[in-house]
């Protein structure tokens, strides 16, 4: 998909601005005073596998020693000299809240291998050190995660494009929290395109979203089918089990079987089913421990139609 590639490229660019230096920097920084010897610095670099060490005197950054400086010191036989005589002075620093794009520009312009990261603009307090490699590996990780996310999204929306006429069907996968809500937001757009009243669209979208969440959290997987008719929208959701042992209890606000992981996401408060019922004009649910749960909700879309079974919250 060319469009997908384009989006990914744009994303890399956006990410470069969004990712801040403090997210990628190495916080494990050791600094030396300029009275330390080159050998002391070299020992530390070897031991901790650092490629550069900032030199700090009385709380001020006075220079930096890189692996190149150490090699030169061995070469020219001044490895026991003080670092103050051989360090690179006038070190460029970067505040931790800057985006990595600024760091990248400094690397490109000055050919530095690393930049000490300071707490805030104008401060001399070093909180980390950042290399080109740090930025690159963080960026690659993020791009990879997002690319995977989009690929799955494409599959889902392709599926929904195949919808016949006014029926939209969405497969819902167990535990796939990243995509929770994609079907509902897609349906919401379709309904908005049909000029259905915003308040009604909102109620339908909430029912779909709660249903999606329920299938993802509690079931082994299932599907949701949305049928748009002249005067109403019918939402039908079916899952493959394991079924709800006591529906009456499940309908009580606050009753939940959700685990900590789900609660950490902001869901699983036991409000889903009652909320769906409140949003729907007609609502029915049946569940079997053998075949799973089926749920049907109907929302009337034309204002002329009376809402016969609309229940108050």
């Amino acid at each position: 998909m060319p469009e997908l590639k384009e989006r990914q490229i744009r994303l890399v660019h956006e990410l470069m601005y969004q990712i801040k230096v403090h997210q990628v920097m190495n916080r494990n920084v050791v600094s030396f005073p300029s009275t330390a010897t080159m050998r002391e610095v070299q020992m530390c670099m070897k031991q901790k596998k650092f490629s550069g060490v900032p030199i700090v005197d009385n709380g001020n950054i006075s220079g930096i020693i890189s692996i190149d400086d150490i090699i030169t010191a061995f070469d020219h036989g001044h490895i026991d000299d003080q670092v103050g005589n051989h360090m690179t002075r006038g070190v460029m620093t970067i505040p931790q809240n800057y985006s990595v794009i600024t760091a990248t520009n400094i690397f490109k312009k000055y050919h530095y291998g690393r930049i000490p990261v300071i707490k805030t603009q104008g401060s001399q307090e070093i909180v980390g050190i950042v290399t080109y490699g740090d930025i690159l590996s963080h960026l690659l990780m993020q791009v990879n995660a997002i690319a995977e996310h989009f690929e799955t999204m494409e599959t889902i929306s392709k599926r929904s494009d195949q919808a016949q006429g006014n029926i939209y069907r969405f497969e819902i996968v167990q535990d796939n929290f990243d995509l929770a809500g994609v079907a509902s937001t897609t349906i919401k757009k379709h309904l908005q395109d049909r000029c259905i009243m915003p308040e009604i669209v909102r109620r339908i979208a909430i029912i779909c979203y709660e249903a999606e969440m329920n299938v993802i959290i509690h079931s082994l997987g299932g599907y949701m089918e949305i049928q748009i008719q002249d005067d109403k929208v019918r939402i039908f959701v079916a899952d493959e089990g394991p079924g709800i042992p006591d529906i009456e209890k499940a309908m009580e606000p606050g009753f939940t079987t959700a685990n900590e992981k789900i609660r950490a996401l902001g869901f699983g408060a036991g409000l889903g089913l009652p909320n769906m019922k409140n949003c729907a004009d007609k609502f029915s649910i049946k569940s079997s421990m053998e075949t799973g749960t089926e749920l049907e909700a109907i929302v009337y879309t034309s204002p002329q139609v009376q809402e016969p079974e609309k229940k108050k919250a």
Partner: protein
């Protein structure tokens, strides 16, 4: 005196926030506010055109905002949103605001914004106070 119209720009300012998406919607009105880490609650509270203040950073805060017609989302306590949340906010043009304030302090600021027209006028000299 209760204010009848607060804009997203004023919310950004009051919360010392950083706006990272939806720049074109700054002058839109915020009709009400909701503050919670429980998205189930958001779905059940029945508000629209509201500002959602939350400590969550996942992509679901944006989906929930979209489903319920929220007008902006504020992430409090200096937390960084997940990249997928940022890209969804940008794609759908939902204003996403990052605030360094705690949830409690953010709510107090919003409370002041709602109650005190003078503080608001002082804080936002460029915004016409209608």
């Amino acid at each position: 005196m209760k204010k009848d119209k607060i804009t997203i720009a004023e919310v950004v300012q009051a919360l010392e926030g950083e706006l990272i998406s939806g720049e074109d919607k700054l002058e839109r009105a915020v009709e009400s506010f909701g503050a919670t880490d429980l998205l189930s609650d958001v779905l059940a509270m029945g508000k629209t055109n509201y500002a959602l203040l939350t400590g969550l950073t996942n992509v679901q805060i944006l989906r929930t905002a979209e489903i319920t017609n929220a007008c902006c989302v504020v992430i409090v306590r200096n937390k960084q949103p997940q990249p997928a949340a940022v890209s969804l906010a940008k794609r759908n043009g939902i204003p996403l605001i990052l605030s360094r304030l705690t949830m409690f302090d953010a709510c107090c600021r919003v409370g002041r914004l709602l109650e005190d027209p003078d503080a608001r006028a002082e804080g936002t000299p460029n915004t016409p106070s209608t």
